[in-house]
């Protein structure tokens, strides 16, 4: 079963495939045949004129063209026949024909081409519906630019004379910007063709100043003719025209000095040859939009209102700032409360309120013109140069025999215009006060909407004026102030005010005070008075405004500080149920003298806060604010505040002087800054100081964050002195003092001060090196002393062993037996032992000499292994050389005659043997010179050997007469001829002792017990 199913499925699949293959084949075949047939038809067509098309650009002439038969070269003649009411044929040598426009209906067009290979004929059916209307390419006649308004003006001709019918034309104008031709604007502009050539103008205001980039303009058109049933197409674009500004070498910013409406969008650009780094509007950074070259632009949305000097827009380059000023303001408001009156029937005085401020001043301020329409006469409002509390009013000369005046007040500024109208009748006369009030018939506000307002029905003022009082500075007079009534409460022109004061005992009334005056002064005692003020118009008096003269004292008052927010100052207080009538906040400029009053405001007794706003507030000006609570008995001052609407940086630096200078400190004292120049609450001082000379250091250096500039921030504003310590003596310091408020840091005042010289420091500067030198010397000495062994070994090595010294080899027999050798028996002095090891050899050996105490050493010496070879000579050093020739006397004296100064040093001959022999007083007996070298002279040696046999005992090695008093470490003698004195002091050549001349006994230098440099190393006890 399974096998059957499988076979059946397989056979079905094969059949299915066969069937699909066969159907595909049939489809391909039919397609091929169709293509072949189409090709044949096309080939046949191409052999004849084909693709006939007709267009028209003026609806009067059709331009028909076709394609020539394929395979034919040039030189074909065509015969074109049009089957209309009259059969007409045209002989042509080109593939187009201009024929008069055909009326509605089908027309058979036969084109017969005659060429070398024969002829072919094509037939077409032509209908207007197959004709296309393509207008001629328009041409811009003129493109101009008004750079001041950034407006492009375009002029072109519509060539309407060629069209038989009136047609609607749609013009499409394309504005492109920059070298890259970015599309900025594509607008359509509709006109009508009226059978005549007409010039058209079109203007376009660019959002970007035209100086910023090149602008291109193109135009095309579309003719919408209702009578034409064919295809209507757009013309080609006209040749492009452009507008560009030729920049000079200077960088410039556009637009310049433009006045725009607050809230507008505006684009600024900087045309520059150098790279622009940033752009600012005010102090806000703006992203740059790059234009051609180095030109850049910024776009500002919803621009805010400008200050009077405008809004600065600047572009910063590497080393300069370029900018422009924009004035963002408002168009003039509709003049409000336009009111006209006359006092003398000669002049009409019209006054008005300008309404919302335009924020435009100077040449951009609103100008007003008062036009009387019946007479056509007008007067212009001339603005004062520096308006302060400017009143807007104009005088108009009355005209004879004219009773009704129709005044129109026109307001105009660069952003727009507005107007108000008033119709007045002068016939009414108020005899009572000899004052003419021109009754306003109606007032028209024509802009923005024509609103008809009926102004004031005459009645008494509805309420009394807002009143306040102040005591004069001497406390004797009470000054009463009141505010003019608003027009809706005045009910006509207020003519005068009546002021009276009443107490329990009397009532005092002042004379009538005419309207422009809003202040009166009454002399009062300190009793309680109630002051009442009444406003009067031509109809009657207002209800009185009353205010108590008494001021309830308040001893618990502290002066507080307040700072405004935006344009106002917020004042808050606690609710006080005792206050039964309105709170009063009054304020004044703190620099003004008493009584100080700028304005006041009354706030209902249930309020606990209010925002004080005034056009008179100026940033950086200090104002006093006083909050009064009102009770039945009078007003009580609750709070006293000083404040600023906005704090600014001080305009001056504090004056400071140097009170005292010392070697390491400077005492600086400064003065307070006047309040007018402080422009904010003083928060502290910044004191900079650093080393600096007057000519080299600039003040700006202090701000550059140099590390050697120190800054002290003095936040205690009561502090008026500062001592700068830890300074260097005799150094110039640059001192700078600046004050700061929350509004910023003020300018700086600088001073250069030189500190005094530091004498203690100078002494220390001298003493320290001396002390150091001494310490170094002492330490060196100690070290040398401690290391003397090493130094001795290093610099003064041991003298060779005297046992090997042949010069000291004495004959034993001579030492022992001869009585003539008494010279060397020196008792009772403490002799030194010179142990001489003698060997009778032919040549004397140089041996070291050992100095031994005879008492201690002698027994040992004598027990040496070779006693016969040792001769221990005990002797006292001779003191007086004159005694040397008389040894007997020496012996009788019994004192040491020879002083040995230990010298371990050099072994060098210093005495001439000949001289020694010549000067030898003993004549060869006694001591024999230790130096007897073989190397010197063999003849001398022989003589010495003979002498040695003859003489026993000590003999000075040198002539004492030639000795000099020179210390051993002193320089060589002046007498350079004397070889003997060259060593400086007589000494035993081989011994370690100086031989001191008798005359120098007292000299410590020549004394064996004295100090010498060599002793320093050598003179060690028991050494």
């Amino acid at each position: 079963m399974d096998i059957y199913v499988c076979l059946k499925r397989a056979s079905w699949m094969v059949d299915n495939t066969r069937m699909r293959t066969a159907s595909n084949f049939q489809w391909l075949l039919s397609t091929f045949i169709l293509l072949y047939l189409m090709n044949q038809v096309n080939s046949q067509k191409k052999g004849t004129p084909h693709d006939l098309k007709c267009v028209t650009n003026n609806l009067q002439v059709w331009d028909c063209y076709w394609k020539a038969p394929s395979g034919t070269g040039r030189g074909i003649d065509y015969e074109v026949c049009i089957e209309n009411r009259s059969h007409s044929c045209y002989q042509l040598e080109k593939t187009n024909i201009k024929i008069p426009a055909l009326s509605h209906g089908d027309y058979e067009i036969t084109i017969n081409s005659l060429h070398d290979f024969g002829s072919s004929t094509s037939k077409f059916t032509l209908n207007e519906q197959n004709v296309s209307l393509i207008p001629d390419t328009p041409e811009i006649l003129n493109l101009s630019a008004d750079f001041s308004t950034s407006t492009l003006h375009l002029k072109w001709n519509d060539r309407g004379s060629v069209f038989p019918h009136h047609s609607n034309v749609i013009w499409e104008i394309k504005i492109l910007r920059k070298e890259s031709m970015e599309l900025v604007k594509l607008v359509t502009y509709n006109t009508t063709l009226n059978g005549k050539d007409t010039l058209h103008h079109w203007s376009w205001a660019s959002d970007m100043p035209l100086e910023c980039a090149i602008h291109f303009v193109e135009i095309r058109c579309y003719i919408d003719n209702l009578h034409f049933s064919g295809h209507k197409e757009w013309s080609d674009w006209s040749p492009v025209k452009n507008i560009s500004w030729m920049p000079d070498s200077q960088t410039k910013v556009f637009p310049q000095d433009k006045v725009i409406l607050v809230g507008s969008d505006i684009t600024f650009c900087c045309v520059s040859q150098e790279k622009v780094l940033s752009a600012l509007i005010g102090h806000t950074n703006c992203p740059l939009i790059h234009l051609d070259g180095e030109n850049v632009a910024i776009k500002i949305h919803n621009i805010s209102v400008s200050a009077s000097s405008g809004t600065n827009v600047v572009f910063t380059t590497e080393d300069n700032i370029f900018g422009t000023v924009i004035f963002a303001g408002y168009p003039p408001d509709t003049p409000q409360q336009l009111n006209c009156e006359t006092h003398d029937l000669k002049e009409i005085l019209c006054s008005w309120n300008p309404g919302r401020a335009t924020a435009l001043v100077g040449p951009r301020a609103t100008s007003y013109t008062l036009l009387e329409s019946f007479s056509g006469k007008y007067v212009r409002f001339k603005r004062a140069e520096a308006p302060t509390n400017e009143s807007y009013q104009l005088f108009f000369q009355m005209l004879p025999n004219q009773e009704i005046y129709n005044f129109t007040l026109n307001a105009h500024n660069p952003l727009g215009r507005s107007e108000s109208t008033i119709l007045v009748n002068i016939t009414e006369k108020d005899n009572l006060i000899d004052h003419y009030y021109l009754e306003p018939v109606f007032e028209l506000k024509r802009q923005p909407n024509f609103v008809l307002l009926l102004q004031g029905i005459r009645a008494v003022p509805s309420k009394g004026p807002d009143t306040w009082r102040e005591w004069s500075s001497d406390g004797k007079n009470l000054i009463i102030y009141w505010k003019p009534l608003p027009i809706n409460e005045a009910n006509g022109k207020i003519l005068s005010y009546n002021v009276s004061c009443s107490s329990d005992e009397e009532t005092q009334s002042l004379s009538e005070i005419p309207d422009p005056q809003h202040k009166a002064e009454i002399q009062l005692d300190k009793n309680d008075y109630i002051i009442s003020v009444v406003a009067k118009n031509s109809v009657g008096s207002s209800p009185p405004s009353k205010i108590a003269s008494m001021e309830i004292p308040n001893d618990d008052l502290k002066i507080e500080q307040v700072v405004g927010m935006g344009k106002g100052i917020l004042l808050t207080w606690h609710y006080d149920p005792n206050m039964t009538c309105d709170y009063v906040i009054k304020w004044c400029n703190s620099s003004r003298s008493e009584p100080c009053l700028m304005d006041w405001r009354k706030v209902p007794s249930n309020s606990t806060e209010t925002v004080i706003e005034s056009d008179q507030f100026r940033p950086g000006v200090r104002y006093n604010f006083f909050l009064y609570g009102c009770r039945n008995q009078g007003y009580q001052l609750l709070r006293s505040m000083i404040g600023y609407i906005e704090e600014l940086a001080p305009t001056v630096a504090p004056n400071f002087t140097v009170e005292d200078t010392s070697a390491d400190s400077i005492l600086v004292k400064w003065e307070d800054i006047p309040v007018e120049e402080l422009r904010g609450f003083l928060r502290g001082y910044l004191f900079y100081f650093g080393k600096g000379e007057r000519d080299t250091s600039k003040m700006r250096v202090l701000e550059s964050g140099r590390s050697d500039i120190k800054v002290k921030n003095i936040t205690d504003i009561s502090q008026k002195t500062l001592r700068i310590a830890d300074l260097q003596g005799k150094t110039s310091y640059h001192l700078v003092l600046r004050a700061y408020t929350d509004g910023g840091v003020g300018p700086e005042k600088s001073m250069y001060v030189v500190t005094k010289e530091n004498s203690v420091g100078l002494i220390i500067a001298i003493l320290i090196p001396v002390a150091v030198a001494v310490i170094v010397g002492v330490v060196t000495s100690i070290l040398c002393y401690r290391k003397r062994e090493w130094i001795k070994e290093t610099f003064y090595p041991d003298i060779p062993n005297p046992e090997n010294c042949k010069a000291l080899q004495f004959q034993k027999s001579v030492c022992e037996g001869s009585s003539g050798l008494k010279t060397l028996e020196m008792n009772p002095c403490t002799p030194n032992n010179v142990e001489v090891l003698e060997t009778r050899s032919a040549f004397p050996k140089i041996e070291d000499t050992e100095i031994i105490s005879p008492i201690a050493e002698r027994p040992e010496d004598r027990s040496d292994a070779e006693p016969e070879n040792h001769v221990v000579v005990s002797y006292c050093p001779p003191i007086i050389e004159e005694e040397i020739p008389n040894p007997a006397a020496d012996e009788a004296g019994g004192t040491a005659q020879v002083i040995y100064i230990d010298v371990q040093s050099m072994y060098q001959p210093q005495a001439k043997p000949e001289e020694e022999q010549e000067n030898d007083p003993v004549g060869g007996a006694g001591y024999k010179p230790q130096m007897h070298l073989l190397i010197n002279s063999t003849m001398e040696d022989i003589a010495a050997e003979e002498d040695l046999e003859k003489t026993v005992g000590y003999r000075p090695q040198a002539n004492v007469n030639t000795w000099n008093l020179v210390s051993p470490d002193s320089p060589r003698s002046i007498d350079s001829n004397s070889e003997i004195v060259s060593f400086g002091s007589p000494c035993s050549i081989n011994s370690r002792q100086f031989l001191i001349p008798p005359k120098d006994e007292d000299s410590p230098e020549s004394n064996g017990g004295g100090w010498s440099f060599t002793n320093f190393f050598q003179n060690k006890p028991n050494d």
Binding site: G310, N312, I321
Partner: protein, 202 residues
């Protein structure tokens, strides 16, 4: 009459333009003698010193008032907007003789006087409500006038100098508002810097 107008008016214009061509203008004719209407004070130099000190004392405040009134970003970009880059400002050499210094001072005061006049005019239009600035500008111009008179007196009486070539500050009337602000600021910066040197040199 027409002939007269046709002949004389152009001649007057030419004569007028010849003088106002921007080159240094002689205060008095070249060969003019030094004539003073009123006798000079004895302590002229003290007065000159005092006036210079007075100007020096108020120069910084005037500078600050000015750049503050111009709005941002002037106060924060003083180096680029208010740097003393006045190219044609008359030079001053503090180490010269008194006569040379007085002549240079004269030139500087004339230059500053005209410049301050331009600045005052521009600011009255641009900042009509900046009364303190106007008042300081006027006060400075007044002192400069007095100083100029004293310097001239001194030059005449002691050195018999009746002719000093001077240059005037740049005319800002045709410039855009930003240029006016910037030029004014640069000039007041230069004034502040120069007056300090002058006050020290005399």
């Amino acid at each position: 009459m027409k002939v007269l107008a046709a002949g004389v008016v152009p001649l007057l214009l030419v004569l007028h333009w010849k003088h106002g061509a921007g080159s240094p203008l002689p205060i008095t004719p070249v060969n003019a003698t030094c004539a003073i209407r009123h006798p000079c004070h004895n302590n002229l130099m003290n007065q000159i010193r005092s006036q210079l000190a007075q100007l020096n004392g108020s120069a910084n405040a005037l500078f600050i008032l000015y750049y503050t009134a111009q709005g941002e970003p002037f106060p924060n970009n003083l180096d680029k907007l208010c740097g003393p880059n006045v190219t044609d400002f008359p030079p001053f050499h503090a180490n010269g003789t008194e006569k040379a210094k007085l002549v240079e001072l004269y030139r500087i005061v004339v230059y500053l006087g005209t410049s301050l006049g331009n600045i005052t005019r521009d600011q009255k239009i641009l900042n009509p409500s900046a009364l303190s600035l106007h008042s300081k500008l006027n006060a400075t111009a007044d002192i400069l006038r007095g100083l100029l008179s004293n310097v001239l007196c001194r030059l005449c009486s002691k050195y018999h100098v009746g002719h000093v070539d001077v240059t005037y500050g740049p005319d800002t009337s045709g410039k855009d508002v930003f240029q006016k602000k910037k030029l004014g600021c640069q000039l007041l910066g230069k004034y502040k810097e120069t007056i300090a040197v002058l006050a020290q040199a005399f």
